[in-house]
Symmetry: C2
Subunit: 316 residues, 2 copies
């Protein structure tokens, strides 16, 4: 049994196809066939059920894959140890970012980070929270930026900042006369929200305590970007909520429609999250330090109330 064989098994298990797995591992397909056969012979088991199309893991295979993931992870940590010792921060690093954070946060720290750690090859991908969690767990992402807390034991969180929500209320709206608003003022039925899948939406729905009879079919013009939401709002289709950093981008005229919450302002917690195995921890630390440092200047709210990004089951 070699680490290489285990890597091959993981690749085939993932792609359910020897040919594709071979491409991904940069060897030819016969190499995979033979090495995996060799491992199967050595252990005297079948890892894959090749009669099924696409190929499937056997029962032992599933357990073996889990352990193989473990071993491969732990073996990668050897390089980690060496890097840490040398103070070297570099290598490929795959970062996931949720859509509602991407456009505002990325420009703030990216330049800073790549200048400070030029040897890190950052690969950033915009993904929704569910996809991020999946990919953190299977090792396809090294870390991600998402709204927290996520309440997943296999994912660790390091808070980056608390970002308050700000109401965007067009003139003529019933709340327009109020200088500052309260969570209790909100009514899910006259609010424009981002399309489902964004955890931001779940957070807002949690916030709207007044949702007497929330049902899915009341008003379905939900958008994918805050820019669109603001425009729709201007057209009189309702108010919306923006995360604070997004309010820095809108036009001067539109800024007049911003209504802050009375403190404690509802806010989302944005964290750097990563697999509990803590692989590439030096880079994670470096990212955390850079982002936290940059954001500290931009957000100066003191008193916030954190809104969970996880859709809660209605208790009544």
């Amino acid at each position: 049994m070699t680490i290489t064989q285990l890597r091959y098994v993981l690749a085939v298990a993932e792609h359910q196809n020897f040919t594709k797995a071979a491409e991904k591992t940069f060897v030819t397909q016969p190499t995979l066939s033979m090495q995996i056969q060799k491992l199967e012979d050595e252990l005297n088991i079948l890892i894959f059920d090749r009669s099924k199309k696409p190929i499937e893991l056997t029962e032992v295979g599933k357990k073996l894959v889990h352990q193989a993931r473990n071993i491969v992870n732990e073996s990668e940590r050897i390089q980690d140890i060496v890097d840490q010792e040398k103070g070297f921060i570099g290598g490929e690093f795959k970062l996931g970012v949720i859509p509602t954070v991407m456009p505002t946060l990325l420009p703030m720290f990216l330049n800073n980070f790549i200048k400070k750690y030029p040897k890190v090859k950052l690969k950033i991908e915009e993904l929704h929270t569910e996809a991020i969690m999946e990919r953190l767990l299977d090792g396809h992402l090294d870390a991600a930026i998402a709204a927290t807390p996520l309440e997943n034991d296999n994912i660790k969180e390091r808070v980056l900042y608390y970002e308050p929500f700000v109401g965007y209320i067009p003139s003529g709206h019933r709340l327009s006369p109020k200088t500052k608003i309260d969570a209790t003022d909100l009514d899910i039925d006259d609010m424009l929200l981002l399309e489902d899948g964004h955890c931001f939406r779940d957070g807002i729905i949690n916030l709207c305590k007044t949702q007497r009879s929330y049902n899915e079919d009341h008003f379905q013009l939900e958008s994918g970007s805050f820019e669109t939401l603001v425009k729709l709002s201007n057209e009189g289709l309702g108010m919306t909520l923006l995360p604070y950093l997004h309010t820095l981008d809108i036009s001067e005229k539109e800024k007049k429609n911003l209504h802050f919450f009375n403190e404690p302002s509802p806010a989302r917690e944005v964290s750097l999250i990563f697999n509990k195995s803590e692989l590439k921890m030096q880079i994670i630390e470096a990212l955390h330090a850079t982002i936290a440092g940059v954001v500290k200047g931009a957000i100066t709210f003191q008193n916030v109330q954190i809104i969970s990004p996880i859709a809660k089951i209605k208790s009544d």
Copy 2:
């Protein structure tokens, strides 16, 4: 980096000598030299400081060895998974046993076990608790039988049985008239104990609350076996304490000198202990089931008070 290379590193780290490590790993010394050099080149570090005699680990080397231990352990668990799936219970299994348990417990279950699991090659070694803990942690033992609780986070415990202490009080001793004795009756200064290193002794010292001024130089005829202790006791040198299973072995005449404790009788907790990595768990489970089953018939005390085998620091 290969698992084999990591094994070689572990062997050299352990023996601090390439030649000996080579013997233990069943390869020639140049193989070790070359493979370890190769790993060092690949990681671009020095794992060993070869200028020191005997050879020493570098700082990175120490961290690497720790992680290597991890990886090798996890890789051995692959065979574990396969064995479990096949319901196979076999292979070499190294069991440590403390001296005060060895002669009484071993005959009770050994025959039973090797008949039931003929494919397990049991290698039993008599060791004191400290040596056992060391060897469990470095992987030289798969499991051990010792007095617990040991309060070590890296060692897991599965209780086998509670074994009460019984007083052996020769006629003429001040406690001889009492049919049943109490812990408060005991005086460390008129008791014969096993030589130091046996955790049994530490347990008894914990038990003797009346040890007003316990000092090492009062009476130094401490023995290595209970047999000797009983004989010395017969000579009027003091009383002694025996674990219950040992009292089954002594002569009828001597049995008259046995004085049980009033309930709750002080007792030691005897457990099967093993590394938290839970390697070879099927065999450990099999051992536990066998021993617990056999002992259940032999010890029928209900109410016991467990004495810690760890020497407590005097609080006053």
